[in-house]
Symmetry: C2
Subunit: 283 residues, 2 copies
Amino acid sequence: MDASLELVASNKSFGGWHKRYRHRSASLNAEAVFAIYLPPQAQSQPVPVLYWLSGLTCSDENFMQKAGAQRIAAELGVAIVAPDTSPRGAEVPGDPDGAWDFGHGAGFYLNASEAPWHRHYRMYDYVVDELPALVEAHFPVSALRSVSGHSMGGHGALVCALRNPGRYRSVSAFAPICNPSDCPWGQKAFSRYLGNDRRKWSEWDASELVAKAGERLPLLVDQGEQDGFLAEQLKPRALEAACAAARHPLTLRLQPGYDHSYFFIASFIDDHLRHHAGALYPR
Amino acid sequence: MDASLELVASNKSFGGWHKRYRHRSASLNAEAVFAIYLPPQAQSQPVPVLYWLSGLTCSDENFMQKAGAQRIAAELGVAIVAPDTSPRGAEVPGDPDGAWDFGHGAGFYLNASEAPWHRHYRMYDYVVDELPALVEAHFPVSALRSVSGHSMGGHGALVCALRNPGRYRSVSAFAPICNPSDCPWGQKAFSRYLGNDRRKWSEWDASELVAKAGERLPLLVDQGEQDGFLAEQLKPRALEAACAAARHPLTLRLQPGYDHSYFFIASFIDDHLRHHAGALYPR
């Protein structure tokens, strides 16, 4: 292992390994921690990778500890990589008011253009380029990639895939922020990270990007109907309308009774892993 | 629902429901929180219950969030009840030095006899009697019970079952403290909760109780070979020797590479749930 990757934790899991690493990120101009789950198949051959992007306040740990994804990943032979949700550290500016929906834990998977955020908040470059290059150089994985995420990370997954369909074989999201330009979380983040020119915002908004998508990667979205953030922040109907207008393929599943928690994610993670494995291991 | 049970949280999970309740516990002379997972089958018929006892520092949340047990519980039609690991609250004395291995989060599933602990530390009565009576009165469950747990909770599960084989259909444990009279965690807890008369300790030590067991409930134990607590605290070989001497049925599975974490528990929880379902739903 390259000395530039510092092993932070290692746990055997379903015959494979969950590992956490710390490294210096050029994109983020800061230290960063990510986790990788390597299924047992990786001991004998390169395996494809699902990138998982978590939601507000999360780190790499939430998904790895709560989603119950390792069992099915071990069955299907898919690695999972979970980055943090923002740059962190004393040198990285956070929310001036100490809020949880901006700054640390809330990078929104974009490249910030405005000071003081632009020096560190480049999670898009980190997730799309730097982290896959690092992972593909240091682990027994192939260059076949999929992307998924939850809430802010669902927004991130959709945006990464819509902007770079050639880099991913498949994309899915749980309760994504579908139209960040038109909800309080997104407006707070975009106005600070990107400034007030709304033309810039449209480059980071899934419901606006579907109209411009070239190669069309089908979108799979699960949304709990009892999710407390559904009406004000998530707005899946905006994405549905945009996909209908652009004839972009979308499977939107509204799940009765489910909320915004990892209990919801765990209940449907098998479906998503099978969706991705079908694209990563085409017959 | 009885007003004596206050609903704290409710999340749909694999077609069933994860719920947390607060209530006044007579055994603990304090408020207590427990969690219950009700599988979808409970909507139409009473289901049997697996009681899960967690380890040091845990609450009801660790297992419910990290073990990934709901998927298989929903498949098999088994409810899971997870109590806290000790009495808590401002009126409950904790470790005088603020340590994590005694007091709050470390009740050791026994009835304390020594002051000041005896006024609250009665997790054995709570887990064996009070909580099942409460659960069976208020939820769509049958009186068929199994018990399992991890580390300190593995000790608790073995002790509860060995002392009350008629109350449980099956028992299992992950990395249990097998011989608490002979390890630092157990000696610290027993000397304070029970005093220095070691004859009292033997009533709460699985490796001593197997010799006295009447009805013999087969013990299923999984232990990670890379568990950092294995040699000093857990001592499965003591349990194995005691079972061999007493001809008590034991399946001890040493799992190469696995540690003490929930990544280990999640990897084998399906096996344990199937073991319990086989006893709770006999053919």
